[in-house]
Amino acid sequence: MRPPEAGRADDEQVREAGPRTLAATAEIYRRHAGFVWRVVRRLGVPDAAAEDVMHEVFMVVHRRHAEYDGRASPTTWLYHLARGVVSNWKRGAARTERRIASLVPSPPQGDPEDDASRREAALFVRRFLADLDADKREVFELVDIDGLGVPEVAELVGINVNTAYSRLRAARAAFQRAVSRLRAPTGAA
């Protein structure tokens, strides 16, 4: 599965973009904001706080771009930065107020063509992921939802490539079984 947003050529562009310029940060944002957003959301940051966290992640990106040596892929670098920022956010007592505020549902995003079946499908996947073992879930999400390669995910998570394949295989098998169960009643009806 190809990465939905970033390919190798894009990554080269990110590496070659000058350090600490707004243009470089803009390029990283353009290529990878979607990925970081998904990571941030999956790490448990609610709607109301996600914008703040995204802002913080990319401010860190801007400040630390010069430190990025290009040895790891941009997604790996961003993943770790995002995790750090989310971790700080979770710890921050000052955020409590906002976290409470975040319980207020966010306004609808206004997608008139969003149909019910897509929402149902997404809900199904969300439930599946919630029940999946955390280790397998991380690999499955990064590979099958974010489109990263297994070796990159192994590096990013800090596990052996074979272990990553093993977790991916188990997660896919579980997902496939869940999908089969979903199909069964429909077929019988």
């Binding site: 499908a121 394949y165 093993s166």
Partner: protein, 265 residues
Amino acid sequence: MSMNDVHDLDEDAAGLLAAYRAEEAMPAPTRARVWQRIERDVRASAAPSAGLRPAMRAPPRARRTAIAVVALVAAAGLAWFGAQELQRDSSPRAQEALDSYAPTQAPNTAVEGHPPANAAVPTGETSAPAPAPAIAPSIPTAAPTSPTVRDVDPVPPSRRTPSPREAEGASIDQGDPLAAEAGLVREAQAALTRGGAEQALDLLSRCAREFPRGALLEERAALRVLALCAAGKAKLARREAAAFARRHGASPLAPRVAAACPEVP
């Protein structure tokens, strides 16, 4: 264990994941709003150092004082300007709260005194009470090639602050091709949001003429499909949607484009 041992998901499973991916995608207004804040803060932080100073080095005290004075003057000027022109609450907190719920605001420029090109980021959302098209032209705002020139501007903030109308018009940056292209795409999105599908198509055509090898080809193609559909050119929209699927099948925009103009039996 190797790649060969890992089976691909079947079509249904892949479809469910695609739906999930689309649902979880970063909404376009959010994307624009976050970038607006980043750009604003980066410019604000770069301004004192003219973009040349290493990140961690603090400016000298004299400069800090000067910056503080300039910031205060800028804030006062903008507060006055805001009261006169916008007649809205100038409290940053209130503004931030507004921003977070209305994807239509120009950024609060009172602190850094940098109103210009970036002010128009989500022009698409600026004047649109109607929901923005869910298409996500993933455009960061105008990104100057060098922050050193623009970030330090001796022109008093009160003169530099554009009216809301000017801010809207300022979305096209003349200096940076990416920014200019992004400006046109944002304007097209804004036009579409306002119901001006033909105008959006004109802007996208202009964009195609001026930036035939632009950086936002994918976003432009996606937006064009929506605009064509909104303009009643359903056949052409579907044809271009099919072309989009061929060229950008892995794009996060693909599901949205595919669903943009369904064939009515």
